[in-house]
Amino acid sequence: MSQAIAFWVFALLLVVSALGVVFMKNVFHSALALIAALLMMAGLFITLNAEFLAMAQIIIYVGAIAVIILLAIMLTPGLSSANRPNRLVLPMLLLCAVFGGVLVISFTRTAWQSLPAPTSMDTSTLAVEMFGENGFYPVLGIAGLLILATIVGVIAILRGK
């Protein structure tokens, strides 16, 4: 029951702040709304017993990504010009509504192969999943290369001519 209440609260706030990201006139406000949305997401993760992810969400998303965006907006004055819709806003709305409908149909009409009861999980099972036998750790190598490539790329872009 308490999970349901928490879900509805977080879900409502998440949708509101997501709409805020899209519709706020000021880009700076949009970024703040994004941070709010990401925090709500962390809350939802906790309702789903994913505490570690909630923490990662806050550290990585809020602490890194959102802050980078905020910094970029503040340091580059041009980036904060007003958040206006383009001319295609109504067709896009229709398109996205249809797309959302398709997603909802897919989600609700699928017979998900449900298991009898949710197994208990905590951060240690995630650790086993990541670093145990047959864990995901080899993929971390690719992730590391990805970060390296990103850094090199950003340097290449911003170094200029």
């Binding site: 109504l90 067709p91 797309f99 149909i105």
Partner: protein, 649 residues
């Protein structure tokens, strides 16, 4: 040694062609000899390899070359493979050997020609394509190389394309042989549609097992024969060959001895099982016998030494057809084998004489025997061999043909008369050219360069001895014939047919001696007596005239070409224009559609406040979000369609 060596025999001349054209010609402009050395070296290696193959086959080794897969379409494999048997080995040796000698000879003969590189490149390609034709295990490839050989001969006959005669001769050779090629192509298509295979070995099995018989086999062999008649210049498709003398003389040697014209004879030998089981073997013999005597008559009256040799080749090819038709593969191919050496020698000799005197007209020659002793000696040996004088090589193969023809009296007598004519015209050439006194204008005649003489001497030796190959049946054995009648070197003289043909040949030589050496009979007198025949022969039976004036000019040019140009003008152009218009129309429609319908739709939905026209002006493509929308739209349409089709229905 494995059988795959045969691919090397084929690849080396082709490689030489590519290297000369791609690298030597642009890079060694000033040093043309590099090309000839490369060509000679690679052809030489090819020759040695084919000799090894021949020895391998002769010693009974089972040589096979696994095919290289070229193309795989569904269930059909098109393979590039090689057959290695006695026939192929012999042909490979002949082709590479003659080509090697011709190239050595050409080093001297073509000296100073501005297109030296091109010449050697083409000769290499010619050799390579002929090798490919010979070894092909599949009719598809055989036909491809058959056409390539035709193309090369076109390029070489027209080598000096700035001379109109050469260009015309090349065109004529190309077109006339093409008539035969249609027959061959028809046969190939017929065989493929009826049997589903073009593999020569499988076709042989189908023919000998009787699975392939009746009208299919009959029509297929007719088609093959047509192809062979075109390439081997058999009546009535012989007209291109005398004109082909316009090419460089060494090329004539190559064409007449080993490559182009031999292809026809080879083709019949290759497809022999099909002929054996069809009613058409006799036709081969008749075509051959008739062509032999028919061409010999024209050779009697020609004044151009190369023209005489050309008609002589046609005549000898007729012999080979006769031999194939009456005797079998080994009889025909044995004559081809011997003929290759002495005919190449005769052409090289003629080239040597022509090189010295700057003409090929025998009326401008005479008395050259003293000035050019080596050429003279070689030429006489070759002439004796061609005339069929014991014990030179021509005697042996010609004897086999004549004795196998003795079953059909008409063909037998035609062959004997041809022997007489052959001896007469060859010694007419010998006496007119080498004896008496010089009638030409050019001074300081001298023997040719040693590059030219050495190949001639080698060929002369072979012209004497190559006939002994079959003394104990070795040659026939090589071609897979088991019950061979062996004839000793002396026993053969007890054979009546041999004695008769030898006497007839000597009679011919004597007559030539009487007329052109001793002038006991005057040539002019003979001409007067046989005036109608003389005219008929020297006008070449008006066949060329008939082809050129009536068939080509009246009928083709005025009729068919006119039709084609009309067809071209109205139908093809109409189609092309129509298609272009249609394509433009589609695009214009597409553009309109895009401009008005797509944009209009997008705007019509979104542009509540703005008029459609105004939006159109502002709504530009190049918008990345529109691109993104299309990604999403695509997915939505696909997924929804599938939902509707698969899930909800």
């Amino acid at each position: 040694m494995s059988g795959e060596v045969v691919y090397l025999v084929f690849a080396l001349p082709i490689l030489s062609f590519i290297i000369i054209l791609a690298f030597l010609r642009p890079l060694f402009k000033g040093r043309p000899k590099v090309s000839s050395y490369l060509g000679i070296a690679l052809t030489g290696i090819s020759f040695v390899l084919s000799l090894l193959l021949l020895l391998g086959v002769y010693s009974g080794k089972d040589l096979a070359a696994s095919p290289l897969l070229w193309l795989n379409l569904g269930n059909v494999d098109i393979k590039f493979g090689a057959i290695i048997d006695g026939l192929v080995a012999i042909m490979l040796v002949v082709v590479t050997f003659i080509s090697l000698l011709v190239q050595i000879y050409s080093v001297g003969y073509m000296r100073g020609d501005p297109a030296y590189h091109r010449y050697f490149a083409l000769v290499s390609l010619f050799t390579g394509s002929m090798v490919g034709l010979v070894m092909a295990s599949n009719l598809f490839w055989l036909f491809a190389f058959w056409e390539l050989v035709g193309l090369c001969s076109y390029l070489l006959i027209g080598f000096w394309f700035d001379r109109p005669a050469a260009a015309n001769a090349a065109k004529k050779a190309f077109i006339v042989t093409r008539v035969g090629d249609f027959g061959l192509l028809g046969a190939v298509i017929l065989l493929f549609t009826q049997t589903g295979t073009l593999d020569i070995g499988s076709l042989h099995i189908l023919a000998t097992s009787g699975a392939l018989a009746g009208s299919v086999l009959s029509w297929a062999t007719i088609g093959i024969l047509m192809g062979a008649m075109g390439k081997s210049a058999q009546f009535p498709l012989h007209v291109w060959l005398p004109d082909a003398m316009e090419g460089p003389t060494p090329v004539s040697a190559l064409i007449h001895a080993a490559t182009m014209v031999a292809a026809g004879v080879f083709l019949i030998a290759r497809m022999y099982p099909l002929f054996e089981y069809s009613p058409n073997l006799k036709i081969v013999a008749i075509v051959g016998g008739f062509t032999a005597i028919f061409a010999a008559t024209m050779a009697l009256v020609m004044n151009d030494i190369k023209k005489v040799l050309a008609y002589s080749t046609i005549s000898q090819l007729g012999y080979m057809f006769l031999g194939l038709g009456m005797g079998g593969v080994s009889v025909g191919i044995f004559h081809l084998f011997n003929h290759a050496f002495f005919k190449a020698l005769l052409f090289l000799g003629a080239g040597s004489v022509g090189h010295a005197t700057n003409t090929f007209d025998m009326r401008q020659m005479g008395g050259l025997g003293k000035k050019m002793p080596w050429t003279f000696a070689c030429f006489v040996i070759a002439s004796l061999s061609l005339a069929g004088i014991y014990p030179l090589s021509g005697f042996w193969s010609k004897d086999e043909i004549i004795s196998s023809a003795s079953e059909e009296p008409v063909l037998f007598y035609m062959a004997l008369v041809t022997v007489f004519f052959t001896a007469f015209y060859m010694f007419r050439v010998v006496f007119m050219t080498f004896s008496g006194s010089y009638r030409g204008e050019k001074e300081h005649l001298h023997e040719s360069h040693k590059e030219m003489v050495i190949p001639m001497v080698i060929l002369a030796v072979l012209s004497v001895f190559s006939g002994f190959f079959n003394l104990n049946g070795g040659f026939a054995h090589l071609l897979g014939e088991t019950d061979v009648e062996t004839m000793g070197i002396f026993e053969v003289l007890s054979h009546p047919a041999a004695i008769i043909s030898l006497l007839v040949a000597l009679l011919g030589i004597f007559l030539a001696y009487a007329v052109y050496k001793k002038q006991w009979l005057s040539a002019a007198g003979l001409t007067r007596v046989f005036y109608p025949f003389y005219t008929l022969f020297s006008k070449k039976y008006w066949i060329d005239t008939f082809y050129e004036d009536i068939l080509v000019r009246r009928f083709l040019v005025n009729g068919v070409f006119e039709f084609f140009s009309l067809f071209d003008r109205y139908v093809i152009d109409g189609l092309v224009n129509g298609a272009a218009k249609a394509a433009t129309g589609v695009f214009v429609f597409f553009n309109y559609f895009d401009h008005y319908v797509v944009d209009g739709l997008v705007n019509g939905i979104g542009g509540a406040a703005k008029s459609v026209g105004k939006s159109l002006r502002h709504l530009e493509t190049g918008q990345l979000q529109l691109y993104g929308a299309f990604i999403v739209l695509g997915i939505v349409v696909i997924v929804m369609t599938i939902f509707i089709v698969e899930v909800l229905v």
